[in-house]
Symmetry: C5
Subunit: 85 residues, 5 copies
């Protein structure tokens, strides 16, 4: 999983059935100083009710409703990161 | 999923049975300014009727007809991207 | 899937049962000018009878005979690429 | 699997059911000199009781309790690395 | 699959059940001149009895004993690479 920040969202009316009803969040991967990295953005299905500017955990291939389909997903909202290299 | 632009298509008559009848789109990943990135192109199976120059969402390992087979797929056509870093 | 060129092959007699009888092609990913990229080579199982110098589509985790095993695979021979950024 | 060092942990109370009860470790990939690489950090589910500063093996898509869900996971604590290029 | 050279091994007594009894090889990806690339090392489960300095094929998510678990694996020992760009 990567640490990321929610930086926006995506509107898409024509989409696969498996994505219907999903919120599609735009997320940017964080560097070691917790800043969004340039050109490291993805779109992820929200599983936890995340909002704009939240720090989240995103997993690349998480199961959607059916086991057959996997998509990048926001799987947790992060409250605190403890880092001690 | 990545944000990408449809930049072309691929013609291939000799292909795996699982790809028969699929449209194979050439897509280029977008940077944070919504511009196609150099040498970041993939070929994806179209699941949503996307056309040239459309902005789309692409997922790397999406199930094809059978659960056994997965391939990069265009899973949504994007109408709008809201971005607020 | 990536666009790649078949640049060689690999001989391996000691291999997993799942790879027996497979042709192992050396492929190099193509850049936006259809040229092989430096140090972007993989070995892929041939599913379509591709030959040296063919332009092909390769998928990273394609099912082998059994659903359990997946390996990078050449899944189509490309005749034409239409590109219009 | 990658060699990584545990450099911290993540606190997240709102998370997917599949992650409940899991320790979420912050790990940094090691370079060839066994030093953490800059901006190459991930968050992984601990399966082996790893602690801060441990050298570990991490696998990107390891099954969680249910087969349906996979997440980056710490799967071993490393005692020794023998390297002879 | 990638071409890699076995450059060492890893000792880990605390590990997931799925890795018990496995040899954990340290491998370095090869560049187009068959030389190990800097900081491109992984740890892979040996499925073919590979030894130090062998050139091997490694697949990132290969099934372990159970279908549920996948890990990077050495799946073949390479005798010869024919390359003709």
């Amino acid at each position: 999983m990567i640490l990321a920040k929610v930086t926006g969202y995506v509107v898409a009316t024509q989409k696969c059935d498996e994505l219907r009803g999903s919120n599609l969040l735009l997320i940017a991967r964080l560097d070691d100083n917790q800043q969004p990295m340039k050109d490291k953005s993805w779109v992820a299905v929200d599983h936890v009710g995340a909002g704009l500017h939240d720090i989240v955990l995103a997993e690349e291939y998480f199961a959607l409703n059916s086991e057959r389909y996997r998509a990048m997903s926001v799987v947790a909202i992060v409250e605190n990161v403890f880092r001690d290299r």
